[in-house]
């Protein structure tokens, strides 16, 4: 971080229930170091937004304590927390101009007029909207509104910025562009950012670390590459990226390795991640791009499969195969021009390394 001025956040055994019967957030412990870009990723109803709202102060925690820079903030009013926030639909005040919107957090802090104007202009320049101060939010495009919302959340120099699915309303191209812009702003300012999204690409692109939420629990908290390469359970493997599932039973364990027998009797070597002993049911997780058609005998796993369908996608070819009784087995082949000929109906051998195959908890 260029100039690290972010705040540290700590969730300490936080629980949240709305109805007193079920927990939306189950015992959350999370440490966010200063200046980190942390993304809470998960499907809707996984508790990620609730966690964000508890941090912002709009929802009280049912149990546990949240610390901001080691200061407990459960009993601090939202407006006294000094946390910038970008909302899903921007929440720009429609009756104020862009400049007035940006000046709002400064006015309520009794910042002098001259300093206000200077900071507003600075923030507008930062998001490249310097000439738009006199427009109303309704006169801006979605992307411009989004930038104003980001500028407004940053104009009062908060140490922590929360973003609640801020790019959800934008089209794909604009979304990608804004991802980079937000990432760069974060890098330049060094504030701590807690970002909530259900879009895994967004999470992987922007974050230092990603917390994958499901069912009120953090399933895995790690860097984007770890998340993709080393999913700790089936949910994470399914949720992040594309994934082949092969169901089987553990028949042999050897240190970090294990031998898994599939339903049709095929035996595969896999990384022992989420299984403990012989006899455990397991689901093997395998990325489609790690499967090779150019097999050789040094590969840990070699299987025969029938090609069911070929889909030409330009940069790569998607091959749907029937492997070990699973006809949803996908292989991605890079389009290298040498025109390796694959034909539907053909039975070919595919292979992959043991490390690319993870033995995780069984899913139906």
């Amino acid at each position: 971080m260029a100039n690290n001025r972010g705040a540290a956040v700590k969730y300490d055994s936080v629980q949240k229930s709305y109805d007193g019967e079920s927990l939306v957030v189950k015992n959350l412990n999370l440490d966010i170091p200063p200046g980190e870009f942390l993304t809470m990723l998960g499907p809707s109803g996984s508790g990620k937004t609730t966690c964000l709202m508890m941090l912002a102060g709009f929802e009280p925690a049912t149990h546990g304590e949240i610390y901001l820079n080691d200061r407990p903030i459960n009993n601090v009013q939202p407006h006294k927390r000094g946390i910038g926030m970008v909302f899903q639909n921007y929440a720009l005040f429609p009756h104020m101009t862009v400049a007035e919107n940006l000046a709002f957090p400064l006015q309520v802090r009794n910042v002098g007029k001259a300093e206000q104007a200077e900071k507003v202009q600075h923030a507008l320049d930062m998001v490249e909207l310097g000439a738009f101060g006199n427009r109303r939010p309704a006169q801006l495009s979605g992307g411009q509104q989004q930038r104003v919302a980001v500028a407004r959340a940053l104009v009062f120099d908060p140490e922590l910025v929360l973003m609640d699915e801020p790019l959800g309303a934008l089209d794909k191209q604009l979304r990608e562009q804004m991802q980079y812009e937000i990432k760069h702003i974060h890098e330049n300012l060094g504030v701590t950012v807690v970002y909530v999204t259900h879009d895994q690409t967004e999470a992987l692109t922007m974050s230092d670390r990603v917390a994958v939420f499901n069912d009120g629990v953090i399933q895995q908290l790690s860097t984007p590459d770890d998340l993709y390469e080393d999913p700790q359970n089936s949910f994470v493997a399914q949720f992040i990226g594309e994934n082949n599932k092969l169901n089987g039973k553990v028949v042999g364990v050897d240190g970090e390795e294990c031998l898994v027998e599939l339903d049709d009797g095929t035996q595969l070597k896999a990384d022992k991640v989420n299984v403990s002993a012989i006899g455990d049911m397991t689901t093997l997780s395998l990325r489609p791009e790690r499967v090779e058609f150019d097999t050789n005998d040094t590969m840990d796993n070699l299987v025969n499969g029938r090609i069911e369908e070929l889909i030409y996608l330009g940069d790569h070819i998607r091959v749907r195969m029937n492997v070990a009784g699973n006809d949803e087995f996908i292989v991605k082949v890079r389009n290298r021009g040498e025109k390796r000929k694959l034909h539907v109906g053909e039975t070919v051998q595919v292979g992959w390394a043991m490390n690319d195959c993870k033995a995780l908890d069984a899913v139906a």
């Binding site: 912002a56 102060g57 709009f58 009013q77 939202p78 407006h79 006294k80 927390r81 000094g82 946390i83 910038g84 926030m85 909302f87 899903q88 639909n89 929440a91 005040f93 429609p94 009756h95 709002f104 957090p105 309520v108 802090r109 407004r152 959340a153 009062f156 929360l162």
Partner: protein, 422 residues
């Protein structure tokens, strides 16, 4: 499509007809259908709303009765100088005799008498008396003396001044009356202070309507705010409570206020019972302005709540959250962010309540006593009791103009596009 050109040439269809005409023909059926759909309502409104208003505007200035009843007299009076201070000469009386004979025959002289009586009291009886005597008059003798003998008011210059002043078929007299003014020798002047009533009543109507609008706003805003903030199921239940008064007869509700507010009524009894007031010091809350304000605020409250609610419902709660996250406390978040966005609802509600209350009749009539009645009660009086429809029409026209003026003023200050009903 045909080849179209951008350089000012008329665009045509393939077979060379102008594109606009072709389009017009194509859309004609649709337009006709649309028109036929609204036609019943349009005709209904024309008959029951526009026509009466035009008739009212006409009645407020129409005055052909003098010319129709006394045609010859009106012509003869043109020679007479009303500023001379002398009673007209024999020629005018001869014309009056001819007119009166016909008028008595047709029994129209009494109507003219009552019409002119609005301008000058006593003329009604003058015409009745003369009408009875007219058959005994002798055409051969000087008619002026015979008329003076019949009633000496014919020798009074003001009688003739009034007759001449109201001989044209259109008059501003009703409007002057509605402004508490009259046409004196030196032009328009206000009536003597003890005869003025309408300006005062207009003032009171505007004042009470403003008070009622404000109290509706004060009571309605928090309710609407609550309704908009609650979950749908609860807010629907509360909404039914808000609308409940609509399902009860206006008369019943107003009478209920009589039961509650009168001096031997429920509220006074309760206050006496808890010793807040003494038995001799019972509060006067009905048959005065207080009664009108309380009862009308109650009746018009839903008209304030509904537009407020529908506007507030569209204000996303994230705005307030955003304001708080930016450092605004509860009050600042409300006042700087929520309130400005609810202004269109306030505008709509206020205009609705104000315009409804400015023309309200039943409630002030029942609970207003004398100090709590509106201009509309006076209009009703002139329509049903005094039968001075011209004055009633003039007062009604003024009320209409007042509303329109307020509407324009409102548009200038708040902007009419800032009014939202939902």
């Amino acid at each position: 499509m045909s080849d179209t050109t951008q350089d000012g040439q008329v665009l045509t269809t393939q077979d060379g007809r102008p594109l606009k005409a072709a389009l017009g023909r194509a859309l004609f059926r649709e337009k006709l259908r649309a028109f036929l759909l609204v036609a019943p309502l349009l005709i209904f409104i024309l008959i029951t709303f526009v026509a009466p208003i035009i008739d009212m505007l006409h009645r407020s200035v129409e005055n052909s009765i003098v010319e129709e009843t006394l045609p010859k007299t009106v012509v003869a009076l043109q020679e007479w100088d009303s500023g001379s201070g002398d009673v007209p000469d024999e020629v005018v009386f001869a014309a009056l005799y001819d007119d009166m004979v016909i008028a008595v025959d047709e029994k129209t002289h009494t109507r003219l008498g009552s019409r002119l009586n609005y301008e000058q009291s006593g003329i009604s009886s003058l015409f009745r008396k003369t009408g009875r005597r007219i058959k005994r008059m002798d055409e051969g003798e000087p008619l002026k003396d015979q008329f003076l003998a019949a009633d000496k008011k014919w020798g009074d210059v003001t009688t003739w001044q009034v007759l001449k002043q109201f001989s044209p078929s259109y008059t501003g007299g009703y409007f002057l009356n509605a402004f508490d003014a009259k046409l004196g020798p030196e032009g328009v002047e206000l009536k003597p202070a003890d005869e003025r009533i309408y300006l005062f009543l207009f003032g009171r109507t505007l004042f009470l309507s403003t008070v009622i609008t404000l109290s509706c706003l004060l009571l309605g805003y928090p309710i609407a705010f609550l309704l908009a903030a609650l979950p749908l199921r609860t807010s629907n239940l509360l909404m039914i409570l808000v609308l409940l008064p609509f399902w009860t007869s206006l008369l019943v509700r107003t009478s209920a206020w009589k039961v509650l507010l009168q001096q031997q009524g429920v509220i006074n009894d309760f206050l006496v019972w808890i010793n807040l007031i003494s038995d001799s010091g019972r509060l006067v809350m009905i048959n005065n302005q207080t009664g009108t304000i309380i009862a009308m605020t109650h009746i018009l409250l839903p008209f304030m709540i509904l537009p407020l609610y529908s506007v507030m419902k569209t204000i996303s709660p994230t705005y307030v959250r955003a304001a708080k996250s930016l450092g605004a406390n509860d009050w600042t978040a409300f006042w700087r962010v929520y309130f400005p966005q609810s202004v269109p609802g306030i505008g709509a509600g206020a205009v609705l309540v104000f315009i409804l209350s400015i023309g309200y009749y039943i409630t002030p009539e029942l609970v207003g006593g004398t100090s709590g009645i509106f201009i509309s009660n006076r209009i009703a009086y002139h329509i049903s009791s005094s039968l001075n429809w011209g004055l009633a029409a003039a007062l009604g026209t003024l009320l209409l103009v007042a509303v329109l003026v307020l509407f324009v003023v409102y548009d200038k200050i708040v902007g009419i596009d800032n009014v939202k009903l939902g």
